[in-house]
Subunit: 358 residues, 2 copies
């Protein structure tokens, strides 16, 4: 049976001050009236029942996640006691699902991307699930056709086309780390490299077996956690054993070493929403090129992004290519050419000990 694992533990800092430690990107209404996490769950309507959704987030985010997803049963919410990257997260989810459904197929996906249309996404997941049903040893990834020489994504080099599976499915020749600009340009020109979207489909037992081979210590800790899952010591054991795991991504831990990896070229629109300009792309702009969320008055302002919480009024005058983000206790005003540096703000706040703004 198909189950979905949503990874919702991210703590991105690119949207400060809208995003905070207690309210990271996936919990924000960045692209529309639903938060990115809510939109991720909405997108599964008709693909799996809600009982087959497992949301893995950080323990401290559980109350907020619970509030945003009243339709997901409590047993579908897992709060990691600390951050350990994607391999332990995915391994734990696979073990938890396999307890009740040993032949489960898992679709694993991030909670903070924009994907549209949802129907194409669901079809693609079904196609991948069929590939896995056909050969349970397969690990299926999704790749996005690059539209520019991005330096911020990992790439997947397409190998041989999988016979009889349609034009979109290839064996993976190699995973490539985030490349420098010149290399990214080569990838784009070659036409055989896709962005790694971090969306995976595989059998729970297959990924467990892969972890057993490549990350046996990690898997041992995860087994200890699952053994205590339904007993009184769940929290204690979870905290102790999970903290003992070395954090590692599923790409490093498994995918780069695996032989039977396929990549499906995504038939859906995708945006990782890596910053405010991506938000502006999603939301569109008015005739002056301004993208506005909240109450705003523009005077001689162009190509400016405004994001204001609540009823606060933001007035901009004579601005070009600027970013203004207003929240109850903090405001960011930045030139859009500095968008990539928003993380520096968070680093600087940490350095100064201004924890109330993190």
């Amino acid at each position: 049976m198909l189950h979905v694992v949503i990874m919702a533990g991210g703590s991105g800092t690119r949207f400060w001050p809208a995003s905070r430690a207690a309210q990271p990107k996936q919990l924000l209404q960045l692209a529309g009236p639903r938060t990115l996490l809510q939109a991720t769950v909405d997108r599964l309507d008709g693909l799996v029942p809600r009982e087959s959704i497992l949301v893995v987030t950080a323990e401290r985010l559980l109350p907020a996640v619970r509030q945003q997803l009243p339709e997901v049963p409590e047993s579908g919410l897992v709060g990691e006691p600390c951050k350990r990257d994607t391999a332990p997260c995915i391994g734990l989810a696979a073990l938890l699902v396999a307890r009740h459904d040993p032949d489960a197929t898992l679709a694993v996906m991030p909670s903070d991307h924009v994907i549209d249309p949802a129907a194409a996404f669901r079809d693609a997941i079904r196609q991948a699930a069929a590939l896995v049903d056909e050969d349970p040893a397969r690990l299926v990834t999704f790749g996005i056709k690059p539209t520019y020489p991005a330096e911020g994504f990992g790439y997947i080099q397409q190998g041989q086309r999988l016979p009889g599976a349609g034009a979109a499915v290839h064996r993976v020749a190699r995973f490539k780390e985030k490349p420098p600009a010149a290399v990214a340009a080569e990838y784009l020109a070659a036409g055989t490299y896709l962005w790694n979207a971090g969306i995976f489909v595989w059998k729970a037992r297959t990924i467990i077996a892969a972890l057993a081979e490549r990350q046996p210590e990690c898997l041992a800790h995860l087994h200890a956690i699952v053994a205590a899952w339904d007993g009184p010591d769940r929290a204690t054991v979870f905290a102790r054993e999970f903290a003992a795991i070395r954090g590692i991504s599923i790409d490093y831990a498994v995918l780069e070493h695996a032989h039977d990896v396929l990549v499906v070229e995504a038939p859906f629109g995708w945006d990782d929403l890596g910053g405010w300009s991506a938000v502006a792309r999603q939301r569109g702009a008015d005739a002056d090129g301004n993208t506005v969320v909240g109450r705003h008055l523009a005077i001689d302002s162009v190509r400016t992004i405004i994001h204001a919480d609540g009823d606060h009024l933001v007035v901009t005058m004579g601005l070009e290519d600027m970013l203004v983000v207003h929240t109850a206790d903090a405001t960011l005003v930045a030139d859009r050419s500095h968008e990539e540096s928003v993380r520096r703000v968070v680093a600087e706040l940490e350095k100064r000990g201004w924890r109330e703004f993190l």
Copy 2:
């Protein structure tokens, strides 16, 4: 005896959103820890007792003025029921003071300028009072030596030097309205034009006589108000009679027609604080040219003015020559080249009916 009349009814819009209808410029801490009004009163210490200070403001501002000036007796606070420019304001103040001190000398001054040092200011007022004592027909004005060809001020053309009164005292040749740039440049080059600082010294009875001659209707209304001042109908009569007056400035009403007008070149530093750049001049800037009031973190930001109320954090990144003013319910972000247009914001808010932000 010397009395001081402080005109505190201004409703400037150049400092929006820091300044509002209910909290105009003179009530703000723009240049330091004391508001401009408080600093105006502080400056009089040693010149006149507090019982000799009359603050004329707008009726709706009375509670705020009372709170800011606990040292001024209630009888020293007058709240105009509507706005009628400076001549009615000054005429009323002269009549009120003359009731108890028919030979009173009045020093009339705005409440929203920066003047420093205070001792030089007090000396200059004493010098002007002596000129008036010498010849009670005189009307004394103060002029500021221009430092640039300002288009935003009225000018006073110096005439013949007053014999025996020192180099700083001249007869007024002519009052000049706010000039266009080329004319302002001529004035500056000529060296005989001063900015009109709106500070006046004269006998109460002299200005009353001048109003009687030039503005008899205005004076009749003011007499009616003063006749009812100590009775039960003060508020009713004040509201009715003051509203019936045609608003006119003391310059138009009296000064431009008077023959015995002197101008004293001010021996003190003066700034009318006409906008945020003037505030920055007063407050000074840090090594990056930034002027900051409130909690601020600057990343790659230069020549930027930040004014944030309360504990709100403003972070600026990659800004040059910008202005950021944050208040509880509204924020202005502007290029400093648009500083003169801040009034447009208020006009636009009025047009849209967003009265809660005015």
